[in-house]
């Protein structure tokens, strides 16, 4: 996993911004924020409500902020 992800999981998620997530940079972060997913925990919530289904979650990320395959993977 990327350095960014290592930093992310090294401490409780708390109120971290969505851009703290690996794979989510400035551009994707802005798009997610505009749709209400401004914190990392809200994106986690979406993953859980999608029943931790990776395919659905990737598709949701792509539809919601245009994440490409690598960004979805991260």
């Amino acid at each position: 996993t990327s350095q960014k992800h290592k930093e992310f999981v090294a401490e409780p998620m708390g109120e971290k911004a969505v851009m703290a997530l690996a794979g989510i940079g400035e551009v994707l972060g802005k798009r997610l924020e505009e749709k209400g997913f401004d914190k990392a925990y809200v994106v986690l919530g979406q993953f859980l409500v999608l029943k931790k289904d990776e395919d659905f979650f990737r598709e949701w990320l792509k539809d919601t902020c245009g994440a490409n395959a690598k960004q979805q993977f991260d």
Binding site: G45, Q46, V49, L50, K51, D53, F56, E59, W60, D63
Partner: protein, 43 residues
């Protein structure tokens, strides 16, 4: 097919009908599941 006038429950029933595994149909997941239904209908 226009799904916007269907209830979450009706969407869930359609997903079952088309054998699309899914979680709860709620505000944040509905759009994705409607898309899956469109794909199923087209195919």
């Amino acid at each position: 097919m226009n799904f916007s006038n269907k209830t979450d429950k009706e969407i869930a029933e359609l997903l079952d009908q088309y054998m699309i595994k899914h979680g709860p149909v709620v505000g944040s997941t509905r759009k994705l599941y409607e898309k899956k239904l469109h794909e199923a209908l087209e195919s």
